[in-house]
């Protein structure tokens, strides 16, 4: 009995530390909440790498800011660079340029350099889908290989370039 009372009396400062830890944990949770909402519904950063969007986007890793508001309301237009999930690999996202919206008639040439005769294809983009292509026509895995992409797979639109610092600035309508 005496031991229990001594233990409880020594817990005083301990209780204060627990209270402070809890307050800090709540603050961290609130910050994380705000960050998460901003990232999912407003502005989200992406890192791009690869050659498929040369010369607009360099092959080295570049950081961009993307916004999710226009894509949520369907306000995308021809020439926008969008981040979308690949139809045949749901865990991978790519950045490509929007070349065709639903109802457009797309004419494209088969991208294989090895073929001597380049075959011309024509395609009508179905309802609810978009056609994306990389700017580097020779080295881009895009709608010419995996077909039109349902609009539901588009995540966000590139609008601001962050790195390298000398290129910091607006990336609208490039």
């Amino acid at each position: 009995m005496k031991k229990a009372i001594t233990v409880l009396r020594n817990m005083g400062p301990f209780r204060f530390a627990i209270k402070e830890a809890r307050e800090t944990a709540f603050l961290v949770a609130k910050c994380f909440c705000v960050l998460h909402v901003t990232d999912n519904y407003l502005i989200s950063p992406v890192i791009t790498y690869g050659h498929s969007m040369l010369p607009t986007i360099d092959a080295t890793s570049t950081i961009f800011l993307t916004e999710r508001i226009s894509t949520r309301f369907g306000k995308v237009a021809h020439g926008d660079i969008v981040v979308l999930r690949l139809p045949h690999n749901p865990r991978q996202t790519v950045a490509k340029r929007l070349v065709g919206l639903e109802g457009d008639r797309i004419t494209y040439v088969s991208s294989r350099l090895s073929k001597k005769k380049k075959k011309k294809h024509m395609f009508l983009v179905p309802k609810g889908h978009v056609w994306v292509e990389g700017d580097n026509k020779y080295n881009s895995n895009d709608s010419r290989s995996f077909g039109p992409v349902p609009y539901g797979l588009i995540e966000s639109k590139l609008f601001w370039r962050v790195s390298p610092l000398k290129d910091f600035g607006s990336f609208w309508n490039k």
Partner: protein, 163 residues
């Protein structure tokens, strides 16, 4: 002077109340987007499993993220034809399978299709009145929003929805 203090207390109380509401909405949003959310499914395409007048069902959002969507699952999927609409259909085939399907409205014989990588084949239970993969093709796995597992309304059919 006391008027300013009064306003200050009222403003503080308003801020406290608003922050409680904001925290509650936060929790609600988190649960609704990542754990479980209700949805209203209506139409004849899933008879007899779901009623034509409309059922309120619970959808869990964890399974598609961890890849646990399989054969016979009822899924909530974003429509490939209209991204603002969600469809409730059943997964009939996964990637790599060859589907033999019968579309009574368009042809008399059954047809075959191969489901490409990263896609699933969805069909409504009522093949006579359902617009599904037989019409718009296999659907990318990335469009699956959740798995339907429980029915809340009408109360007579309250309970788990099995395969």
């Amino acid at each position: 002077m006391s008027f300013m203090n009064h306003i200050r207390t009222v403003a503080k109380e308003a801020l406290d109340r608003t922050s409680i509401i904001a925290k509650f909405l936060c929790c609600l949003h988190f649960t609704s987007s990542y754990l479980c959310s209700p949805t209203h499914a209506y139409g004849p395409s899933m008879l007899p499993t779901l009623n034509i007048a409309g059922d309120v069902v619970l959808v869990e959002h964890l399974s598609p993220r961890i890849g646990k969507v399989g054969y016979g699952d009822l899924v909530l999927v974003r429509s490939p034809l209209n991204p603002n609409r969600n469809l409730t259909k059943r997964v009939v085939a996964m990637e790599g399978d060859t589907v033999t399907y019968f579309d009574p409205l368009n042809s008399d014989s059954s047809r075959n299709a191969v489901v490409p990588k990263g896609h699933v084949w969805i069909q409504g239970d009522n093949i006579y009145a359902s617009r599904d993969s037989r019409h718009f093709g296999p659907v990318p796995y990335g469009l699956i929003k959740g798995k339907v597992f429980f029915r809340v309304w009408p109360p007579s059919s309250f309970g788990l929805l099995d395969n």
